[in-house]
Structure formats: structure tokens, C-alpha cells
């Protein structure tokens, strides 16, 4: 690969340019740096959480190309070279919270908050793709986001409300 150097300790370092929340970052990473650790450690964007680190829990969800939820614990930073991501820090464009975030607060859709960044991003991706989802579609969209606190009900209510539809009982 052309954009690779071997440093004085013999470690291979790869140059990557990754756009996160509209800002492009060009950095040197090791082959084994995971996207989640790149976001948290190199960019200090700690809103993206680490739970299982094996693709099961969705705490590390980010939006690839601004719309596609993926688990950043299973993606290498070198694989993310040239791509664009949105993390929870980029959901609200200005000081004002995003509509979905407001609805999460209104419905008490969180307790410890650990799953919340991933939930918000899965919800955001769903409502962007499908502004009026059914309750079933909402449940399916967050099936890859595990919450150990809320029992999901208030999360589903918040997302349905954010879509401007009737809130399920």
C-alpha cells in the first residue's frame, strides 16, 4: 500500500483520511486500530460506546455515509479510509438538540444512558429512510441495540412520537 510507512520501531503505520461529523481527519493508524478506538482515543469523541466489542450490542453504532448504521467495533480504521461517518456528537447540527434527542428526554427513554448514542443513531437512520415507520419497523431497527435498563418501551414511544405518529400504549 502506498500510504504506509514503517516507523523507527518497525511498526507499520497507515495514513487514513476519515470524515466524522463533517470534519475530515488525516491521521496515522496501525492496521489493528478499530474504528471505535480511533473515534474515542484519536478524536476524543467518546459518545460512541464500547459494550460487547463483538457486534452484538450496538453501543458502538455509527452511521456510515451519514445513513447506514454499522458497529464501529468490527470495522478497522484502515477500512474506513476515505469514508464519512456520523457519531452521536454529530446528530444535533447546532446547539439545539435533534428532534429525536428531545423525544428521548421527553419520554424518559434512557436510564444509565449507555445504549443511548447507538439507539439515537439507529432511530435517526430509520426515520431518515422511513419517516413514518410502523411500531414493528421501529422494533426491528433497534433490534441490534441492546438496552439493559429501560425495557425498550419508552424508547419505542420516543421514536414513534418523533415520527409524528400516535404513541403506542
Amino acid at each position: 500500500m502506498s500510504n504506509m510507512i514503517i516507523d523507527k520501531d518497525g511498526v507499520r503505520r497507515y495514513v487514513v483520511s476519515i470524515t466524522v461529523n463533517g470534519d475530515e481527519y488525516t491521521k496515522m493508524v496501525k492496521s489493528n486500530t478499530l474504528l471505535v478506538n480511533f473515534l474515542r482515543d484519536a478524536l476524543d469523541l467518546t459518545g460512541t460506546k464500547k459494550g460487547c466489542e463483538l457486534g452484538d450490542c450496538g453501543s458502538c453504532t455509527v452511521l456510515l455515509d451519514g445513513k447506514t448504521p454499522i458497529n464501529s467495533c468490527l470495522m478497522l480504521a484502515v477500512e474506513a479510509d476515505g469514508r464519512e461517518f456520523i457519531t452521536v456528537e454529530g446528530v444535533a447540527s447546532h446547539e439545539k438538540l435533534d428532534h429525536i434527542q428531545e423525544k428521548f428526554i421527553e419520554h424518559g427513554a434512557l436510564q444509565c444512558g449507555y445504549c443511548t448514542p447507538g439507539m439515537i443513531l439507529s432511530a435517526k437512520a430509520l426515520l431518515t429512510r422511513n419517516p413514518k415507520p410502523t411500531e414493528h419497523e421501529v422494533r426491528e431497527a433497534i433490534a441490534g441495540n441492546l438496552c439493559r435498563c429501560t425495557g425498550y418501551i419508552n424508547i419505542i414511544k420516543a421514536i414513534m412520537d418523533a415520527s409524528g405518529q400516535e404513541i403506542p400504549m
Binding site: N32, L34, N71, E140
Partner: protein, 289 residues
């Protein structure tokens, strides 16, 4: 959880990828979506020293109908590409439906068709429906291309019949006379659970008579397997609940499941009976492949 160090390459062509795989030998592995490989490297189940990423090989990311050949699915297509594909929704809705039952949204957006096959995991969800629809895979290696029936790809749990330098580039679903197909995945939860039993069937039914049938079983043998005695039994039979029930009994005799944390061998065997019957009924009734 951190990954051990490895060398990383992202070649621009399939030929170059094959060359690298051949040059490095068994120390190298292909990296597609990483949903299986990265997890296995974290758990130290696999310890490749070199990863060859196929992310730049865009010719492997497509789903299209080629007249005279069939539906061609590039190996880099993700599970959600299958779910959302117009071509598949029109021609083989059962494949889209099978992909939809996998994992959860995040993994479906990253995991690929090629990875699902190359893994050679007995419980993988795509091989049964592909086998039922008589799919072939196209593989490319340093010596060139070859094509093999999907069911011939598997050699055992985690083992394929591909050589070290070969990459799966396409899955091809040929034009066919089948009138209906269906995949039933039975897992312990609605999402994010691997199949305890997976049954895929394809049938050609004319005037209520089964002209042809293919039955493929997942998670109940060392590899995905065809239930050939069941297929033979079904051919020429008039559709009836009794015939479908009998087919289920025959299929349960054709599987060789193991007991593991998800289910006992006895339970899996009996579920093959139940789901074969139900999958056949659904394929006959829904009237689409």
C-alpha cells in the same frame, strides 16, 4: 478488546488480491465485512498475520439480472443489499426474506454474501436458500476463474474446497422452473440469534402436482446439506398435508445434527421434520420463488 498486529493490503484488482493470497499462503486471509473475521481475531480463534481487504473491488458489489445467465450477486453485496435489491424482490423474494432474518441491522449492513459462504459455518443463513435455488459460485484464483455448485463449496465446519489463493466473486442464481421457494430460520430470538435449524425449499408445482423439489438444511450437519431422499420422495406427488408431513419425516432422517448450547440433537432432528413440512407448505402457497 484489542486486535493483534497484522499487515494490511487493499489491492485494486481481483488479480492482485489473488496474487497476494498466493504469495503469503495460509498466513493471509481475505477481509470483507469483518463481522466474522474481526470477532474471531478478537477471540483469538483466528490469527492471520496478513489481511487482504477486498473493499476496493467494486465489481464484486452488484446485484443484477443477466439474460441467459440468471441473477448475479456480487460477493461483496451486504445482507441488507439483498434485502433491498429490486432485482431480488422481483425475482427471488425468498433470498431477500432469508437475508432479512439474519443478525440485526448493523451486521446486515456490513456482513457480506461472500463472507457468509466462505465462513462455512453450518448455521449460516444464506447457503440453504442458495442451494435450494441451485446456485453456483464463481471463484477467481491465480490460475483463473472457475465455477462450482454452491453445495460443493463446503468441506466441513469452517472448511471450504477453495484453494488459498481463491476469492469468491459471484453467486449466480440460474433461471429456473421452480414456482415457489422459502427459507425458515428457527433461532432462539427474533433477531441476533444464529439458526438452531434452517430449512430452505424450492418446488415446481403444476396442477397441484410436485414436478420438482430441492430441500436444503442448515445447522443440522457438518455443512449445509441437501435432503435428497426427501426431494426424490416429493417428485410426482400430489400436494397434500399427508405428503408434506411424510416429507418432513424423511428429511428428519437425513440430517446429522450435534447437541450444543443452542439445542440438543434430538430437538434439532424433530424441528427439521416440522420446518420442512412448513417450508414446503409456504413455498407452495405463496407462489413466488
Amino acid at each position: 478488546m484489542y486486535l493483534p498486529d497484522f499487515e494490511y493490503y487493499a489491492p485494486d484488482s481481483i488479480a492482485e488480491a489473488c496474487k497476494l493470497l498466493s504469495q503469503f499462503g495460509p498466513r493471509a486471509k481475505v477481509l470483507a465485512g469483518g463481522t466474522d473475521l474481526i470477532a474471531k481475531m478478537k477471540n483469538e480463534v483466528l490469527k492471520p498475520e496478513i489481511l487482504i481487504s477486498i473493499k476496493k473491488l467494486d465489481q464484486m458489489k452488484k446485484i443484477e439480472y443477466v439474460p441467459g445467465k440468471g441473477v448475479v450477486i456480487g460477493a461483496r453485496s451486504t445482507h441488507n443489499d439483498l434485502v433491498n435489491s429490486k432485482v431480488l424482490n422481483e425475482k427471488y423474494l425468498s433470498i431477500s426474506e432469508a437475508a432479512h432474518q439474519m443478525a440485526a441491522n448493523q451486521v446486515r449492513n456490513a456482513g457480506t454474501v461472500g463472507g457468509n459462504i466462505s465462513n462455512a459455518v453450518p448455521s449460516a443463513d444464506l447457503p440453504p436458500i442458495f442451494i435450494a435455488l441451485n446456485a453456483a459460485v464463481k471463484v477467481t484464483g491465480v490460475k483463473g476463474e472457475r465455477s462450482l455448485a454452491l453445495e460443493d463449496v463446503f468441506a466441513g465446519p469452517g472448511k471450504t474446497n477453495l484453494t488459498q489463493d481463491e476469492i469468491i466473486t459471484e453467486v449466480i442464481i440460474p433461471d429456473q422452473k421452480m414456482t415457489g421457494s422459502n427459507y425458515i430460520k428457527f433461532g432462539l430470538r427474533g433477531a441476533g440469534a444464529l439458526a438452531v435449524v434452517g430449512v430452505a425449499v424450492a418446488v415446481q408445482v403444476e396442477n397441484n402436482v410436485i414436478k420438482d423439489a430441492r430441500v436444503a438444511l442448515g445447522a443440522v450437519a457438518a455443512t449445509p446439506v441437501r435432503a435428497k431422499k426427501t426431494e426424490e420422495f416429493l417428485k410426482g406427488k400430489k400436494v397434500s398435508d399427508e405428503v408434506l408431513a411424510e416429507a418432513g419425516v424423511i428429511a428428519s432422517g437425513e440430517c446429522k445434527p450435534i447437541s450444543d448450547v443452542r439445542a440438543s440433537a434430538e430437538y434439532r432432528t424433530d424441528m427439521v421434520r416440522v420446518f420442512t413440512k412448513r417450508a414446503l407448505r409456504a413455498a407452495i402457497d405463496k407462489g413466488h420463488v
